[in-house]
């Protein structure tokens, strides 16, 4: 109720605002955790996959902030479509050096093909064979909807290459890993001496490292956006439930012990959202310094948002009582998505320690000493 529209970037560019508004309506129409096969063509038709790419490359030019605005809405509805990895692949190609990238981008943004990206930190071993071909070996983890992907975007462990590999070929084994979160379908991709073809190399050397770093940052922001949307929707659902459910002859929402818990969750959700939007409005990834600064901001946004979503989910289950433990109620879908979100991206604890390490290093020379007392 009071929450509607609260997830808009204030003073954000009006186009993004309008798109986010319409996305909310469309997704509400499709319903919670709507069928992936039915929703994917819809979001492609609506042009959402064009959101982040520049107008020169045929996109809508709304950047990462635009993609995050949509991901917030997708998070609200526990969307099953692999929008997040699709956007990452599109971003990689847009910033990469493939000779035929314009054609790739056309097909990707139209949803004709889907290129998957792992949502966990992982990379493949690479070796040159006698012909000089690059051969990839190892396992990619947490690749969403890989069975629908024509290719997967990957990095090599030595940091030398970011490239595309077709998923349907000898040497690539696609294994579905059922997760407790049923709103996403994750796969392992095993590679056994699979060639990374020259014309599929998106970036090499220092550019590959910069691109991998950029993608990890974007992944953090998009995961944060998903969590912000999920947390807001779940809190609303919980408050609605407490309003409707009566015990002791009154609505549960009248009990202050429960009101205060909801208020704390509201503050945490608002804080996560404010941090995400503030960072998106501020960070610019057009230089190495910019990417380094965005990396820290992305880590903070992801850590805070995923922690907030997990807390809301934990509290929501408690506040729903027995009904929340039943499979036909939606509570558990949010909970399981929140739990998985905390484990996607970088290793969970590395967010906190990464932020602290950078801070400690930066305040070394000028650090105030404990004041003389």
């Amino acid at each position: 109720m009071a929450d509607d529209g609260a997830l808009m970037i204030p003073h954000m560019n009006n186009d993004v605002r309008e798109l986010q508004d319409s996305a909310r309506r469309v997704l509400a129409g499709l319903g919670l955790a709507a069928d992936e096969a039915a929703s994917w063509p819809r979001i492609a038709d609506l042009g959402w996959l064009m959101i982040s790419t520049t107008e020169e490359l045929g996109g809508l030019g709304m950047g990462l902030a635009g993609a995050c605005a949509l991901q917030v809405e997708l998070g609200r509805q526990l969307a099953t479509v692999p929008f997040l990895p699709a956007v990452l692949a599109i971003e990689a190609l847009a910033h990469g050096a493939l000779a035929d990238k314009v054609q790739w981008l056309e097909r990707l943004t139209a949803g004709e093909i889907y290129v998957a990206v792992p949502l966990a930190d992982c990379a493949l071993n690479v070796q040159r064979d006698s012909r000089g071909a690059l051969l990839l070996t190892g396992t990619l983890l947490a690749v969403p909807s890989a069975d629908n992907a024509s290719h997967v975007l990957l990095s090599t462990l030595n940091g030398e290459h970011v490239g595309l590999v077709a998923t349907a070929q000898p040497g690539v084994t696609v294994i579905e890993r059922a997760t407790w979160d049923t709103t996403r379908r994750l796969f392992d991709l095993q590679f056994d001496a699979v060639e990374l073809e020259e014309h599929h190399i998106v970036a090499s050397g220092s550019q590959a490292q910069a691109l991998a770093m950029r993608l990890a940052v974007q992944r953090d922001f998009l995961l944060a956006a998903d969590a912000v949307g999920g947390a807001a929707a779940l809190l609303q659902m919980t408050v609605d439930y407490l309003q409707a459910r009566t015990q002791f002859g009154r609505p549960l929402a009248l009990f202050q012990a429960l009101k205060h818990r909801c208020a704390d969750l509201k503050a945490q959700t608002e804080a996560a959202e404010a941090l995400l939007l503030d960072s998106l409005g501020r960070e610019q990834m057009d230089s190495a310094d910019g990417i380094a600064s965005a990396e820290l901001a992305g880590k903070a946004a992801k850590q805070l948002a995923c922690a907030a979503f997990a807390t809301v989910a934990e509290e929501a289950l408690q506040l729903h009582g027995g009904i929340g433990m039943t499979s036909e109620h939606n509570c558990h879908l949010f909970l399981k998505r929140a739990l998985l979100n905390e484990h996607l991206g970088r290793a969970p604890d590395s967010y906190e320690t990464g932020i602290a390490d950078a801070f400690l290093a930066s305040c070394q020379p000028t650090c105030a000493s404990i004041q003389t007392l």
Binding site: P10, V239, H260, K299, E352, A368, S369, Q371
Partner: protein, 399 residues
């Protein structure tokens, strides 16, 4: 970009000015200092800061130092925090509570009379709370009786910050016994030097005495000193409280951001810089502090654009207060036993000094004053989430 350039130029100016003007060694001077020294330092620093136009960045553009964009306000707060300048706590109520109330609800004549006095260094205090009216502020009993062209005040206020130094008081008093208690309240400006006003400082648990009781004994207040109409004091008080809960926290959040090196310094001093568990806690705290700043900034932006909604200020205050508590608790935990040795206290240094037990205690200023955390939670639940209010009637059941 032009806006960025101008913010950059402002930053250079403010930084250079601060370098030349921040009182050197003020922390040492304020440690276990006499009150007189505290008042003198505050007055001097306020004089300099307001003359330079940096004391009132949140005021509208018609007033000296005012009309700053969010970006420029942030630059000033950040630079002041970075330079580790004293906070103007003696002038806090004048600059925020009083000014915002006058700007929002005062008459033109009142603004023309009082805002220049505030700029010239008048000290104000807030007389809302009473011994029997804290969270339930609307139940207050201090009376204002109309006699001719005056109101005559009788009653007692308490916990009034800096009242012992104040020239003027924002007083919320009862002019009638209406059925709805809020309807009988009237907002007055009271001269603290008027006959019949007595102030008694209250010793606090830090050793400081930042707040005081005020007794009003037939104190006469001319009716021109009323803000808003008689009986409309509650609405005016909301303007005061909104400024206290939201606006002040833009500056204070950035202060907290700039105080984070204290934790790093404590880790170093305690030889625990490499402690992985502490690093994790620090990383989490940094993210929270960043979010506090982002929330406060967003609040200010909404206020400027007229999009402020019920409960917004409460979210900022609740999140700030709980983050500040965590800040001081983490510092305390790292400092260990040595942190518990009594090193006295520093007047006017507020809540981030690295003197952890005092910082911890001072963090309660923000979880109790200006409406406690529990009251903010009520507001968020009822006004933002639409959850029902407590039933009004309550009777003592027979035992």
């Amino acid at each position: 970009m032009v806006a960025e350039d101008s913010a950059q130029i402002l930053r250079q100016q403010v930084r250079a000015w601060l370098q030349a003007n921040v009182p050197v060694g003020w922390r040492q001077a304020m440690t276990n200092s006499e009150q007189a020294a505290f008042v003198q330092l505050q007055r001097q620093w306020f004089g300099k800061l307001s003359a330079a136009g940096y004391a009132t960045p949140h005021w509208p553009s018609e007033w000296p130092g005012g009309g700053r964009s969010l970006a420029d306000q942030k630059v000033i707060y950040e630079e002041v925090a970075r330079a580790d300048a004293p906070r103007l706590i003696l002038f806090f109520v004048a600059l925020y509570h009083a000014a915002c109330t006058l700007l929002e609800c005062g008459s033109d004549a009142q603004r023309q009379t009082y805002l220049p006095k505030i700029l010239a260094g008048e000290i104000w205090c807030q007389g809302f709370s009473e011994p029997n009216a804290g969270s339930d502020l609307a139940s207050l009993k201090t009376r204002a009786e109309r006699r001719g062209d005056n109101y005559v005040i009788n009653g007692q206020k308490t916990w009034s910050t800096m009242a012992q130094y104040a020239d003027r008081c924002l007083l919320l008093a009862r002019t009638s016994k209406a059925e709805v208690p809020q309807a009988g309240l009237t907002y007055l400006l009271v001269d603290m030097h008027a006959p019949g006003v007595t102030v008694r400082p209250i010793a606090q648990i830090t050793g400081d005495d930042e707040f005081a009781e005020i007794f009003f004994d037939d104190v006469e207040v001319p009716i021109e000193e009323r803000i808003g109409e008689e009986g409309e004091g509650w609405a005016v008080a909301q303007a005061t409280l909104a400024s206290e809960r939201g606006l002040t926290l833009v500056e204070l959040s950035h202060r907290m951001r700039y105080a984070l090196p204290l934790i790093a310094a404590q880790m170093r001093d305690s030889g625990r810089e490499q402690d992985a568990a502490l690093r994790r806690d620090l990383g989490r705290l940094i993210a929270r502090v960043d979010a506090t700043c982002a929330l406060a900034d967003r609040y200010l932006l909404k206020r400027i654009s007229g999009e402020e909604a019920a409960g917004d200020a409460s979210v900022v205050k609740l999140y700030y207060a709980t983050t500040l508590r965590e800040f001081s608790l983490l510092g305390s935990r790292i400092a260990g036993l040595a942190g518990q040795y009594d090193r006295g206290f520093m007047r006017g240094a507020t809540q981030e000094t690295g003197n952890w037990p005092v910082d911890f205690i001072n963090s309660f200023n923000w979880s109790i004053a200006g409406g406690s955390n529990e009251i903010q939670r009520n507001i968020i639940a009822e006004r933002m989430l639409g959850m029902p209010r407590e039933p009004r009637s309550w009777q003592m059941t027979a035992r």
